[in-house]
């Protein structure tokens, strides 16, 4: 109990320094489950709490993190035509991925948690765990080459206007992580759309462009030198045939044939393709989804109905077939883009989704159908889940309203009891003892 007494000794004064105390309280309750006991109401409580719920979601996306780190490096070396094999140059790919991912991860949390702590201190309530998940999601849905300052502005926007303005964790209308993404998308379209942002390590993605390494790369180089393994080559340049286009961009231009000219189906399935950091590897995301389903933290209703909605829309488009994108076989829509990531981690956010079981079916189906609609029709940016989820987030309260309304109507319509004459003069109604004798 040495740690416990040490922690208790350093507790800052609540009145003198509220911010420090909030910070302390946040970390203390992280380390030690509090000793509060039940008072009134039930005497025993479930071992489950919000911290555990949130951390389970974060754990479920760890594989996406590991693969995302690798894939940042893999895409970089793919552009300069080195180490095409999965395990070739593995340490270089990982270290390049870390160099790109760590700043994104750290800055997301510095900005997001900082704002969260500040609001908690200001309002005098304990730190809520909402940003545990949002903060873990945001790096995964960003392009690897995003400028850090844009990221910080986006996170601040999402946390302040998307969450704290509504009252904090549990009160927000829109998914916080997606708000950060949508902010980047609408506020800085030129710097993050197109074919360039999905590959990192270059000033500009164009054939012949030399790599752009930083001090971190040279640090890793000296380490690798000392061990005696391959190092980053500062003279490398992007090879001539490279375009940097994602499968979605290709499909929008030339349908499925254009996609398969560049990428194999297996590549798209396993995720060694350009894209947002955490969205590319389908099997690893599905493992995360499975964790959420088995622990019953993610709603299976939303996941299943979103899948069905996407299939439904895909089949309609296949039958229609007016543009090249529409002719992409519906099954392959799951191989490109970030459907599974959106399904597992974004649509299932309980705060912004519908809260009734019937509502969840409608909500999920809506996201699946509308998301694919946007993906296929949006000329500027061929992906739809972000916008579809935010759209359905907006309508979630309305869906719930009608579901509840039907429950209310059903209850109020129940016929009044046969012979149920109640109150005051009621005694005379069954006063006659003969019928009972």
């Amino acid at each position: 109990m040495g740690l416990l007494s040490f922690l208790q000794k350093i507790e800052p004064d609540k009145k003198k320094s509220p911010f420090l105390h909030t910070l302390y309280d946040g970390f203390f309750t992280f380390a030690y489950a509090p000793k509060t006991v039940t008072k009134g109401g039930v005497h025993i409580k479930d071992g489950m709490d919000l911290k555990r719920t949130m951390v389970m979601v974060v754990l479920a996306m760890q594989l996406a993190y590991v693969f995302g780190t690798y894939n940042i490096g893999h895409q970089h070396f793919d552009a300069i035509g080195m180490y095409p094999g999965f395990l070739e140059g593995f340490h270089l790919k990982l270290s390049h991925g870390l160099i790109k991912l760590l700043p994104i991860f750290i800055w997301t949390h510095v900005v997001g948690l900082g704002i969260e702590f500040w609001f908690a201190a200001k309002k005098g309530h304990p730190i809520e765990e909402g940003f545990l998940v949002s903060g873990a999601l945001i790096p995964l849905i960003m392009p690897p080459d995003i400028p850090i300052w844009i990221l910080c502005v986006a996170v601040a926007f999402a946390v302040i206007l998307g969450k704290e303005a509504f009252g904090g964790t549990g009160m927000n209308i829109w998914n916080v992580a997606l708000l950060a993404r949508v902010f980047v998308f609408f506020a800085y379209p030129t710097s993050i759309s197109g074919d360039e942002v999905w590959v990192s390590g270059f000033e500009k993605v164009a054939p012949g462009m030399a790599v752009d390494y930083s001090w971190a790369h040279s640090m890793f180089n000296s380490l690798f030198d000392w061990i005696g393994i391959a190092t980053f080559n500062a003279n490398a340049a992007i090879h001539d045939a490279y375009s940097g286009a994602t499968p979605l961009a290709l499909a929008a231009k030339g349908g499925w044939t254009a996609v398969t000219e560049q990428f194999t189906v297996a590549q798209m399935w396993w995720g060694t393709i350009p894209g947002s950091i955490g969205e590319t590897s389908k099997p690893l995301i599905l493992i995360g989804a499975l964790v959420l389903l088995l622990t019953k933290i993610g709603s299976w209703r939303i996941m299943l109905s979103m899948f069905l909605g996407c299939v439904f829309m895909g089949i309609i488009f296949n039958a229609w077939g007016a543009t090249p994108f529409m002719t992409v076989p519906w099954i392959y829509h799951f191989y490109i883009g970030s459907f599974f990531f959106a399904m597992a981690f974004m649509a299932t956010d309980p705060v912004t989704a519908t809260s009734t079981n019937v509502g969840k079916w409608i909500y999920g189906f809506g996201i699946g159908a509308i998301g694919l609609l946007i993906r296929v029709f949006n000329p500027a940016y061929p992906e739809g889940w972000m916008l579809a989820i935010l759209f359905l987030n907006t309508f979630a309260p309305l869906i719930d309203y009608y579901v509840l309304d039907s429950n209310i109507k059903r209850r109020m319509a129940k016929p009044s009891a046969a012979g149920g004459i109640i109150r005051k003069d009621a005694n005379s109604q069954i006063e006659n003892p003969v019928s009972h004798a």
């Binding site: 030690y32 000793k35 009134g40 025993i44 079981n357 009891a417 009621a426 109604q429 006063e431």
Partner: protein
């Protein structure tokens, strides 16, 4: 080849959809016509439940069996064995606050030092002077304890070794009117055991209930075995049912245990003049509120009464012999009790005397009732009127390193993030730790899984918190009672005090009524 296969599949699909739509229409029509009142399966195909669920034992009436899929059984250590001992208790108490709706300072009919008989009037409510509150035992009034603002908290009686009963003159039942019966019950002191819903208050004299409901089994954690409670009182129970049938304009409904673990007592299964419904499911299937919801829900502005089985027997005894018999079987349960058993005693028995030499550890929580909806009491207090159980569990006032992530001891949970499903028979030694701090509502669908009723508890709670009376009523607050929402409160990830919120809502509704 492929095309013809697709065509065949298409035809089969169309046939199945036509079949299932028409099948559904038949069922809907049957419900509308009132043929399918018990939600029988009138479909052409047997339901999956009929095919795959374990068949119920032969004593269960399949036509009146309600299968409830939601809820959860919390298995705790310290269930009472089926032995019934006589309790070595000398002191008993009547607590006016046990009766919801009574004013805090009732009019006392006795003073300290008086000798009373069992069934003799102790006090009454000045607002409602007809309803008498009587002594459960004969003996000496040793203390009238006062609480806040001079309210009366306890009337403590030192019981005689040989119990003497006040003899009431029985009324001639065959030609007694309803008001005569009601008057007799109020005068003799059995009236306050009748609980009126909505609001869970003592039955109002001028109200004729739509129906009366009695649950004959209890599914709560460590609940007493209600078969033991009624042992030897079958005749009184039947008489009580007959009396109750004369007080309602509807029916008396009996909820029986259809889970198949133990056959209900013959006093329950052979009861006549009542409608019997069987329930199969996890807790809260034994809660009378859940049973009402499935049998005959409380209508708009409707009222029902609910009673406990021992109280039905007490009413029966009064009409059979003219005496007030407060006999009660109390289960002594919980992980901290050395020998959990059932005790035969009277209403309001002293907890410390019941637990004498049975609790060795200290830092315990003493609960009158079960761990979900019971009341925390100091050990020198007395069993509450409505409870027939005492639970003793450990207080959980300890820090736990990373307790939220890697708990050291197993704990009951509805969540699949704990590997509890791997140890299905495990009896948990739960303590009173909250296992987390209170948060805003985040997780959805959790309460719905804990409550086998067509109600949206989370939205109901939000309606109460915003004080929206109309919405509260629409979402079914009148069908709810604290014990029904208790399991949701246990499972709540956000640690919200749901029973407290619900009581606030019910109080709001009552003020409006």
């Amino acid at each position: 080849m492929l095309i013809s296969a697709l065509v065949v599949i298409g035809i089969i699909l169309i046939f199945i959809s036509v079949f299932s739509i028409s099948d559904n229409l038949i069922q809907i029509e049957a419900q509308k016509q009132g043929i399918d009142t018990q939600k029988n399966n009138l479909s052409l195909v047997p339901s999956l439940k009929d095919l795959f669920s374990k068949s119920s034992p032969s004593y269960v009436d399949k036509n009146n069996l309600h299968r409830l899929n939601k809820g959860m059984d919390i298995k705790l250590a310290g269930a009472a064995s089926d032995e019934v001992h006589h309790a070595p208790v000398a002191r008993y108490a009547v607590k006016p606050q046990d009766f919801r709706g009574i004013s805090p300072i009732p009019k006392m009919e006795v003073t300290e030092g008086d000798e009373v008989l069992a069934g003799q009037v102790l006090f009454y409510d000045k607002k409602n002077p007809n309803v008498k509150y009587v002594s459960p035992v004969s003996g000496e009034i040793v203390e009238i304890r006062r609480g806040q603002k001079r309210s009366i908290s306890h009337v403590i009686i030192l019981g005689d070794k040989e119990q003497k009963h006040k003899q009431n003159t029985p009324i001639a039942l065959s030609n007694a009117s309803r008001s005569e019966i009601v008057g007799f019950m109020q005068e003799s002191g059995v009236w306050p055991v009748i609980n009126q819903r909505p609001f869970d208050i003592i039955a109002e004299t001028e109200v004729i209930p739509d129906n009366i409901f009695i649950s004959t089994f209890d599914t709560a954690p460590l609940a007493p075995n209600l078969n033991l409670v009624i042992e030897g009182r079958g005749e009184e129970f039947q008489k009580g049912l007959e009396i109750l049938a004369r007080l309602t304009s509807g029916k008396v409904y009996l909820g029986l245990d259809g889970r198949g673990q133990e056959k209900p007592h013959t006093a329950y299964t052979s009861a006549t003049g009542v409608e019997k419904h069987w329930f199969k499911g996890k807790h809260p299937a034994g809660n009378v509120g859940v049973q009402i919801h499935h049998v005959n829900p409380i209508k708009n502005n409707g009222t029902v009464w609910t009673l406990k089985v021992e109280d039905v027997a007490m009413i029966g005894r009064l009409f059979l012999s003219g005496t007030y018999d407060a006999t009660k079987v109390v289960a002594i349960t919980g992980s901290e009790v050395t020998e959990p058993v059932h005790y035969k005693t009277y209403k309001g028995a002293s907890i410390s005397e019941l637990l004498k030499d049975k609790v060795t550890s200290d830092n315990n929580r003493y609960v009158s009732g079960n761990v979900l909806s019971g009341t925390q009491l100091p050990i020198d207090d007395f069993v509450s009127d409505a409870h027939n159980q005492i639970t003793v569990i450990k207080e959980g006032d300890d820090y736990e390193l990373f307790g939220w992530l890697l708990p050291i001891t197993p704990r009951p949970s509805a969540s699949r993030t704990f590997p509890n499903f791997l140890i299905p028979g495990h009896e948990f030694e739960a303590n009173t730790n909250t296992h987390g701090e209170e948060r805003a509502f985040v997780v959805t669908g959790q309460y719905e899984n804990m409550l086998p009723m067509d109600i949206y508890p989370q939205h109901l709670m939000k309606a109460i918190l915003t004080g929206d009376i109309e919405r509260m009523e629409g979402l079914g607050i009148n069908e709810m009672s604290e014990e029904d929402i208790a399991l949701c409160e246990f499972a709540c990830t956000s640690k919200q005090p749901l029973q407290e919120i619900l009581r606030d809502g019910l109080d709001m509704m009552r003020e409006q009524a």
